[in-house]
């Protein structure tokens, strides 16, 4: 092998090695790489209990309740399969509205309601029409907003 080919091989193997190492690391920390947990997973009990975490989904139409004269509010969040109640006190981002994707940071309360300390609005990649988070796309037909065939109903443990 010529020296140039040896160098080519060395560079190629080095890049490949780093890529494999990075891939394995990211795979091992997959759960931590996720910015938020799907609602279905929360309902199924698959969420970190010891610490705060984020949930992501759509705000259910007609579910937003505000308290008169206060910043307290509650709403329901869905991934088109499971729904979860969320309580929050504070200022909401401009894009927060019913039917819109949101990410809430907080922890599960004892009563099965998610107590949020921070609400973020999630914007989609469409610069015309509304977006459904990627987890939703699996369960929902984009055009009809109905459950796709073969999608199971919300499973509770």
């Amino acid at each position: 092998m010529k020296p140039r080919q040896q160098r080519m091989l060395a560079v190629g193997l080095a890049v490949l090695g780093v890529a494999i190492a990075a891939g394995l690391t990211l795979r091992a920390f997959e759960d931590n790489m996720m910015f938020f947990v799907d609602i279905s997973d929360v309902i199924a009990g698959e969420y970190p209990e010891e610490r705060n975490f984020r949930i992501g989904g759509l705000v259910v139409d007609g579910s937003v309740m505000r308290q008169e004269g206060a910043l307290d509010m509650s709403f329901r969040i869905t991934d088109m399969r499971c729904e979860l109640g969320v309580e929050y006190t504070g200022v909401l981002p401009d894009l927060f509205r019913e039917g819109q994707g949101v990410v809430a940071h907080g922890a599960m309360g004892d009563n099965g309601i998610f107590v949020a300390d921070k609400i973020l609005a999630k914007h989609d990649e469409n610069y015309m029409a509304p977006e459904v988070a990627e987890s939703l796309a699996k369960h929902v037909d984009e055009k009809t907003q109905t459950l796709r065939e073969g999608t199971t109903e919300c499973e509770q443990p």
Partner: protein
Amino acid sequence: MWKWFHKLASPPHFYRLAATLIPWLAVPGLMLIAYGAYAGLFVAPEDYQQGDAFRIIYVHVPSAYLSMMAYMFMAFGGAIGLIWRMKLAHAVGAAAAPIGAAFTFLALVTGSIWGRPMWGTWWEWGDPRLTSELILLFLYFGYMALRSSIDDTAKADKASAVLALVGVVNVVIVHYSVEWWSSLHQGQTLFKEGGPAMDASMLYPLLAMILGFTLVFGALLARRIRTEVLYRERRTRWVREMILSPEGGK
């Protein structure tokens, strides 16, 4: 083909070629940016949800794209420099780094300014897209710091080329972060399956901005490579002859 390749790799030849190239890149680039900025700010309609705030994409998207593009120049320059021992390729990497860092910074800042009113946060630790783009900025800083910490140019070239190649994996992560993991950052708009998810009146100014930014990046890169080549070849005869010639290095 190889003859052309070797000629391109010759510093004096490239030094002159780059000078010819710069106006051909810069002038159309600036014209496209002028059109894109005007059409993006005044002609394109408001977004149905974001209102006028969406217009920051006309700077954000080209910057973010070039932050990765410049890195690929750096990495490929490093690889070619290491494998073929081509000094000019290392010069390309050295020249690309500060431009890439500037675009990365611009992408982060414009994204943050947009994120405050839209998401409701300037910055979210833990978001894969945001975090990997910040790591990209640190890779640029590391590359530049490593280069300037080694006096011997040949050694600096080798060490920084290895660093650039190791960091390539992060560019892949930046690109796919919104597909692999759940993320606050929205997914791909332009390269989405089934065509860009954007109205044509918004899309054309954006494409003009992307092409314009790319051409201006090319002009800046050509200019920085010239400076880099001149510095590296400062003790050679062609540089001395060029400076002493009647044209004085034009």
